[in-house]
Assembly symmetry: C2
Homo-oligomer: 351 residues x 2
C-alpha cells in the first residue's frame, strides 16, 4: 500500500516523539512492503512564530490531500497565562478539527499489565479495563456563537447540536460496539440540557438498527463518578464535545500511564492520530520524553487502513520494550532510563 | 438561639434519613438550650403526586420564611426513563435553587480514617485530603435560554454568566480560603469559552483584595484528571454550575464513603443543607439507608450560624459511632448492621 502521511510535529516534545513514530512506521513499511511518503507541515506555537498562524492554509492543504495525519503536540508556556491572547496554539487545533471535519475523537482506555500499579486506582478496580470514549469533536459549545453583552459584563457561549452530527457520531459508536462487547453508553445531561435531549432522542431512534447492542443512557455527573469507581462497567461511550473533553482526560488517569495512551480523530476523508499527552515544554529538546503514545497512535492509523497485522506488530514491539525495560525515565523505576531516540531505535530494529 | 427550619424530606430514603437528622438536632437543641421549630413541606416526586408540582409555592413560602432548610433527597424511578416528561422532580430542585437564590453549592471532600480503604483510590493518594468545591448554582447553562430550531433537528442551550454572579461566588471562595490553607483554584475552560474568560478576568481583578491567597487557574479537563491523581493539591475550588456538577460528583468518589458526604447550598437570605447522595429508591422504606450524610449536613447548618460547638458535637458523635461500629449495612463489613433509625437513636442519645 502507498500512504501519504502529513507530519505535524508541533511544539515541545512533539518533534522528538514524532521522530520515533516515523522510525517505527518506516520499519513497518520496509517489512510489509508499503510505501510511506511523509510531508512535514507547521502547526502550533512554532507555526505562529514562523507564519503568524497556528494552522496555516498551507498546512491545511497538505493535511487535506494526505491519506492521514500524524500529530505530535502543541502548546507553549508563553501563551498560557494570557487566555485572551489574539492568536493561540489551541485555536489551530480547533480550526484544524473543523476544517478537516474530524468529527469523532477516539480515545481507548486500557491497562498495561506491567504498569498497572502506577495507577492511583486500586488494581482490582482497573485490571481488565478496556473502554473507548468517542467524543464528538466539531460541534457543541466549542463551535457555537459566543460573545459579550452589557459592556463586557455578560458573557455567553452557545451549545448547539444538529441531529446529523449526533447520528454521525452515534453510528460510529454503534459500529464499534458491534466489534467489541456490544455495549454502548450515551452520556449526556438530558435532565437539564435541550441539546442532550436531542442526543438521547436521536440515539434512541437508532437503537432498532443495532438490535444486538445494549444501549444505556447516563448523566455526565454520574459517569464522572462511576468511571473511576467501576471503569470495567463501560465498553463504548459516546458523548458531546465538552463532556468528552472532561471525561477522556479523567479516564486517562485509569491506566496510570498517560505517556502511553494513543488517540485518533476521525474525519470522513482524512483522520488524524496523536498521543493524548501535551507538549510537555519542560522536557523539550532533552531526548527524555516517552514516545510510546505516539507510536501506539501510529498503530491506530494502520488499523484504520485495515492493516491489522502491521498494527499488531507495533503493539507487540511496544509490549516487548516494556517487558524488557527499554523505557524512558518516566517508566524506568530506578532502572536504566533510555533516551527517547534510543527507545525509537530499539522499536524500529525489533519490528 | 431560636431556629425555624423547613424540613423537606423528599422522596425515597429522604424521609428516613431526615428523621435521624431531626433527632440529632433536637438532642443538640436540648443540650445547648436552643429552640428548633421544624416545618415540614412537600418537594420532589411526592409533591408532584400530591399537588402536581415538584416545588409548590406553599413549600417555597415555608422555605423563604425559615432560617434554614434541611433537605433529604428527591427523584423517583418512574420519571427516570422519560427525560422529556413535562413535570420532573429535578425541575423542583432547579426552581428551588433559583427562587431561594441558592447561589453557592458547598461540597467538602475529606476522608474518614476508619473508612479510607473503601476508596477506589490508593490510601497514599488520598490520606489527608481536605478540599472544598464551591459550585455556582443559579447561573450558567442551567438557566440560560434553550430550545429547538429547524423542525426540532437543532437544539441549543445558552451558557451565560454575569460579572456579579462570578464575583459573589468568588468572594465566598476567597473568604473560605482565608479560613483554610489560603489556596484558591479557579476552574474553567478559558481556552475555549467566553464565559470562562469572564470568570478568569473577574477573579483576577479580585486577587488584590486577598493578597494572602494564592490563586491558580486550571482548565476543567486537567482538573478532572488531577482531582483523582493528586486530590491533596487542592484546597478551595471555585467553578461554574455545569463544571461543578461534574467535578463534585467525581470528587465524591475520593473518600470512598458517599453515604457520609454532606453539602450546603448557600443563599443570601436562607441556606439549604442536604446529603450529596440521591433518593436511593431501592432502599426506600427498609430502614437500612445510611443517615450520616444528612446528620453531617446538619452540622454544616449549625456551623453557618456560628454554633461551632454544636457542629463539633455532631461530628464527634458521628466519629464515635463509626469507631464503635454503630453503622448501617453499607459500612458494617460483615459485622452487625444497625437500622437507620437505630443509628439515629444512638447518635441522639450520645450527644
Ligand atoms: C486545547 C483544548 C482546546 C483542547 C480541547 O478542549 O478540545 C484539548 O483540551 C483537547 O482535549 O484536545
Ligand atoms: C438533578 C440535577 C438537575 C442536579 C444538577 O445537575 O444540578 C444534580 O445532578 C445535582 O448536582 O444536584
Amino acid at each position: 500500500m502507498k500512504l501519504n502521511i502529513a507530519l505535524l510535529a508541533g511544539d515541545g516534545i512533539g518533534p522528538e516523539v514524532i521522530d520515533q513514530a516515523v522510525k517505527v512506521c518506516d520499519a513497518i513499511a520496509g517489512k510489509y512492503n508499503h510505501e510511506i511518503n511523509w510531508t512535514p507541515a507547521l502547526t502550533g506555537a512554532i507555526a505562529i512564530d514562523t507564519v503568524g498562524e497556528p494552522y496555516p492554509d498551507e498546512t491545511h492543504e497538505i493535511c487535506a490531500n494526505s491519506d492521514a495525519v500524524l500529530f505530535g503536540a502543541i502548546g507553549h508556556p508563553k501563551f498560557d497565562n494570557d487566555p485572551s491572547a489574539k492568536v493561540r496554539p489551541e485555536q489551530g487545533l480547533l480550526k484544524m478539527r473543523q476544517k478537516l471535519g474530524l468529527f469523532a475523537n477516539v480515545r481507548p482506555t486500557f491497562t498495561f499489565p506491567s504498569l498497572i500499579d502506577k495507577s492511583p486506582l486500586k488494581r482490582e478496580r482497573i485490571e481488565g479495563t478496556d473502554l473507548i470514549i468517542l467524543r464528538e469533536l466539531t460541534g457543541g459549545v466549542y463551535f457555537g456563537e459566543r460573545g459579550r453583552k452589557d459592556n463586557g459584563d455578560t458573557a455567553f457561549d452557545t451549545m448547539t447540536y444538529q441531529r446529523f452530527e449526533i447520528q454521525r457520531l452515534a453510528k460510529k459508536g454503534f459500529e464499534m460496539a458491534m466489534k467489541r462487547s456490544k455495549k454502548l453508553c450515551c452520556v449526556d445531561k438530558a435532565n437539564v440540557l435541550e441539546a442532550s435531549r436531542l442526543w438521547r432522542e436521536t440515539v434512541q431512534t437508532m437503537e432498532k438498527d443495532y438490535p444486538e447492542v445494549e444501549v444505556s443512557y447516563e448523566f455526565v455527573d454520574a459517569v464522572a463518578m462511576r468511571l473511576v469507581q467501576w471503569p470495567k462497567d463501560y465498553d463504548v461511550i459516546i458523548t458531546a464535545n465538552l463532556f468528552g473533553d472532561i471525561l477522556t482526560d479523567e479516564a486517562s488517569v485509569i491506566s496510570g500511564s498517560m505517556g502511553l495512551m494513543p488517540s485518533s480523530s476521525v474525519g470522513s476523508k482524512v483522520s488524524l492520530y496523536e498521543p493524548i499527552h501535551g507538549s510537555y515544554p519542560q522536557a523539550a529538546g532533552k531526548d527524555i520524553a516517552n514516545p510510546l503514545a505516539t507510536v501506539l497512535s501510529a498503530a491506530m492509523l494502520f488499523e484504520d487502513f485495515d492493516l491489522t497485522q502491521e498494527a499488531q506488530a507495533i503493539r507487540d514491539v511496544v509490549n516487548k520494550s516494556l517487558a524488557k525495560g527499554i523505557v524512558t525515565e518516566d517508566l524506568s523505576d530506578g532502572g536504566k532510563a533510555y533516551k527517547t531516540s534510543e527507545v525509537g531505535n530499539w522499536l524500529a530494529a525489533n519490528i
